[in-house]
């Protein structure tokens, strides 16, 4: 378990002070694949580098399995770092060592015999699916292959945690997918806790079970991936979700007020369905039972870590009380409802239903 407590980091140069982290606290459970997402400059890299203290926070604590890393001597910290693997956007392999030697690097001086090191490296290369390249040099590998080597190297000392700083940002979509599924595979096989930094919601949606959203050095929102996708609270999370589900342009149009009839109460909501719940049936059902019009404006389905996740944007018109009742009914049935826009004569209870 990783506990980050009140991490604060300010970069000071002669002219400029940049607050990279501001009182960041997070708890990451064992076995999580924990995503941290934010735009460029949000402080994500600073945060992940604080976990293994490549960057020392000005204040706050980093606890891993009960050990406070910030309180350790340099030697003790190095010992702990062996149990925290890390991979990087640009792979950071040693050019003059071949694949085998790169993976063997962290195993030297650990009291292992030559044969033991050899066996271990070959096993790791097999795990990441790159056994045939053992004697190639990094310059002879593709980006995806390099990242596999980097993963093997990061796993050499049987870490409990794997930190990934934009590990797929330099890869094409196909390689991104295969690296992400490799991360997921090792997470399950080795019961490894994985922390993933990214600016792409696609990455989060592919593998993470939990996500924290960062903005200007602060974690603004945090939760299970289903929660964030079905009920994003902050503007930035809404943007990320809208982008991923493909309705960001739709929202723009909505905000310009193209479907507006000011004489009637009209409520536009996004309804999220997780797993087996069938969306369409609910809509026709409430339409009939509550006597309201339900106009489906947009629908899409995505897979969140393999679980089907559907979004419908529906515009309800009719009696505002009836609409509220209908929404209540949906929520009772575990259908998440997020209000996007309310128009019209009766606006009294807009706020409640969000």
């Amino acid at each position: 378990m990783i506990i980050l407590k009140d991490l604060t980091k300010t970069y000071k140069s002669k002219r400029l002070t940049v607050g990279a982290l501001n009182q960041v606290s997070l708890t990451i459970d064992k076995g999580d694949i924990f995503g941290i997402i934010g735009y460029s400059g949000a402080g994500k890299s600073t945060l992940i580098r604080c976990i293994n203290l490549l960057e020392r926070p000005d204040s706050g604590r980093v606890m891993i399995n009960g050990t406070d890393l910030t309180a350790l001597s340099p030697q003790a910290l190095r010992k702990q770092r062996e149990k925290i693997g890390m991979i990087f956007q640009h792979f950071n392999l040693m050019k003059r060592r071949n694949v085998f030697e790169n993976v063997a690097y962290p195993l030297k001086g650990k009291g292992l015999s030559k044969d033991e090191i050899q066996a271990k490296v070959l096993k790791l290369l097999e795990l990441v699916g790159i056994s045939d390249k053992a004697y190639s040099y990094p310059s002879q590998l593709s980006g995806g292959q390099k990242q596999r080597v980097a993963i093997a190297r990061a796993l050499a000392n049987d870490p409990e945690v794997l930190l990934c700083d934009e590990a797929t940002s330099a890869l094409d979509p196909q390689n991104t997918k295969s690296i992400l599924s490799l991360l997921k595979e090792i997470n399950q096989k080795l019961n490894l806790t994985v922390v993933i930094i990214t600016h792409q919601m696609e990455v989060i949606k592919e593998v993470c079970n939990k996500v924290a959203v960062m903005e200007e050095g602060v974690v603004v929102e945090e939760g299970s991936i289903i929660d964030i996708f079905s009920r994003p609270q902050t503007k930035i999370s809404k943007e990320f979700v809208a982008h991923t589900m493909g309705y960001e342009n739709f929202e723009k149009i909505l905000n310009q007020g193209f479907i507006k009839d000011s004489n009637r109460y009209e409520l536009t909501v996004r309804i999220s369905f997780v797993g087996q719940i069938a969306g369409q049936a609910f809509i026709s059902k409430i339409s009939i039972e509550y006597g309201i019009y339900a106009n489906i404006l947009f629908g899409s389905i995505e897979s969140l870590q393999g679980v089907p996740f559907g979004s419908l944007i529906v515009s309800f018109t009719g009696n505002s009380n009836k609409i509220q009742e209908a929404i209540g009914y949906l929520e009772e049935n575990n259908v998440k409802v997020e209000v996007l826009k309310a128009y019209g004569a009766d606006k009294t209870d807009n706020a409640q239903c969000s």
Binding site: N52, R78, E82, H90, K95, R96
Partner: protein
């Protein structure tokens, strides 16, 4: 052979001396180059790792060492040669001949090696060093298992350049009685207006320089992946 005798009569007569001078030059360059590398490479490493934000950041060490290196680097070799005469006498017991030339050559080339090695090591991707830190490597381990390994082609190239410039320096040292090809050219050639001696000495120097350069580039290619 007859032809050579006609064009370069003195060279043929002094051939044994030319060979000896050649050997002396190689010896001077080899000894001073070796010692300069032994001192200069660690200095280059220190210049890198004590930089701001680096493994063993230390403002004071970095700026003092940097200043010393710069001072020796900015002195023209001829001036250095005379300026350090007492030091030369202290270490070599003499200021002339092969022994007398080696000390100033070391003084001239060590800072050169240090700066060249420094810039070679600065070429190494900081991300690689960071990855090693993340794996729990100590600064010392990073120096000899990352910096010196990843930086090897750069270091080899730095030493090549150093040796080439040492050959030049050694010729200058020769002119003030240091022995070697420079000495040979001045003593038997310049002073008697024997043009062929000068040309022969120059050609031999050029050959040596080119061989060293070629070897260095070959190694560089071989070592880089």
């Amino acid at each position: 052979m007859e032809l050579i005798k006609q064009i370069m009569p003195n060279v043929v007569n002094l051939f044994p001396d030319l060979i000896k001078a050649c050997g002396d030059t190689l010896l001077m360059v080899l000894i001073s180059g070796t010692i300069a590398s032994i001192i200069g490479i660690p200095m280059g490493v220190i210049l890198v790792v004590t930089r701001e934000g680096n493994l063993l950041e230390n403002k004071y060490v970095n700026s003092i060492l940097g200043k010393i290196v710069n001072t020796f680097r900015s002195l023209p070799f001829v001036i250095l040669l005379t300026a350090i005469v007492p030091i030369t006498r202290f270490f070599a017991g003499t200021t002339i001949g092969l022994k007398g030339a080696i000390v100033p050559l070391i003084f001239a080339s060590t800072p050169f090696v240090a700066r060249q090695v420094e810039s070679a090591l600065l070429e190494i991707d900081p991300g690689v060093i960071e990855a090693a830190e993340a794996m729990g490597s100590s600064p010392f381990e990073i120096i000899y298992r990352v910096l010196l390994v990843e930086g090897l082609p750069g270091i080899v190239y730095a030493l090549t350049i150093t040796i080439v410039s040492l050959i030049g320096f050694s010729a200058v040292a020769g002119t003030v009685g240091g022995g070697g090809l420079g000495d040979f050219a001045i003593r038997y050639g310049y002073q008697y207006y024997r043009m062929d001696i000068m040309i022969a000495a120059t050609i031999v120097l050029l050959l040596i320089v080119n061989m060293v350069q070629g070897l260095g580039e070959y190694l560089l290619k071989k070592l880089s992946h």
